[in-house]
Amino acid sequence: MLQLRYDPIKNQLVAIATKRQDRTFHPPKDFCPLCPTKKGKAETEIPASDYNVVVFENKFPTFDKNPEKVDNKKINAGCDFKYELRQSKGICEVVCYTSNHDLYLEDLPLEKINNLIKVWKDRYSTLGKKEFVKYVLIFENKGEEIGVTLSHPHGQVYAFSFIPPAVLEELKSSKEFFKKKNQCLHCQIIERELKEGTRIIIHNDDFIAFVPFYARWPYEVHIYPLKHLQSLCELGEGEIVSLSKIIKELVNKYNRLFDFRMPYVMMIHQKPTDNKNYDFYHFHFEFYPPYRTKNKLKYMAGCELGAGTFLNDTLPEEKAAELRNC
């Protein structure tokens, strides 16, 4: 059952995807569905003895490429107050970074990370061209603490038929700032960060990584292109190399911080793909690691879930210094 149900109170859509309850859950390494198929063994998701980067449709998707029509009359029969179902149209892809089960993103040579970025560009461009796709979200969930069920290094791509609310908020504030000041909000933040320097983790010719002034997670880091760009599509070869370097360096810093592989949620926020003008927007990466100390996790709890206000028990400037120096 794949449905979009509209919450009229929060003015948001909720994706119902019951098939995902059956998804593969922490299989032993020998039965990893993202590894290449070994001779004489059962076929994995990838029917080849080796691969470079592979993308395939998720077996347990959140959205449906060819959804059935919804019947709002049927679900509302005899009811004065009407609920609303929408077609859960979308595409969910898995991106396998490497055929090597034990190599994480940060372990890959720069050349391989460059290639992965080119694949991200291609998925954004290819999926974004589809008529119904309004937003392409590229992300990676890493680590059991985040709820990852397959340890093979991989990320995901969701092609949405709507612009998700977290992005809508960013677009709204970016647009309002641009209308008032005739400047890009994100460019102004980058300039301020460069001027102050206290929250910067890494800075190279084309990108900057910093803990935001308004960080919600203790070790939250955003990576921005210094140029005002709206999507990965606009990156040239040299900028791709710079991006690979900063991602690799950041994630290795995360790993050195507590001497274990830091779990995280990584996402790329780019302009929507509905062909409207988003010149006021500035694409960027956001990293959310869940740890607040070496052995303590930060949870989304009452204030975050109940009030929508994040509590950060740490000072972003102090956490930035820790990351910068490790």
Binding site: K118, D122, S161, I163, C187, L226, K227, C233, E234
Partner: protein, 59 residues
């Protein structure tokens, strides 16, 4: 060209003021909204037994 649609959005601005401040203008000079070609990227698409597509990328 894909048509504009505004389902649940309304945030796109086709009339956005093109005037930019100095830093914005400077950065836009080197930016392009077109998707730059991925040099050397090759794709081989297959259809799996259950109908899902799978793409092998090589470089």
């Amino acid at each position: 060209m894909k048509k504009e649609k505004s389902e649940l959005t309304g945030n796109g601005d086709s009339t956005v003021d093109k005037r930019k401040n100095e830093s914005f203008e400077r950065s836009k000079h080197s930016a392009s909204n077109e998707c730059k070609e991925n040099s050397g990227l090759k794709k081989r698409v297959i259809t799996k037994k259950d109908g899902r597509y799978l793409i092998y990328y090589s470089f």
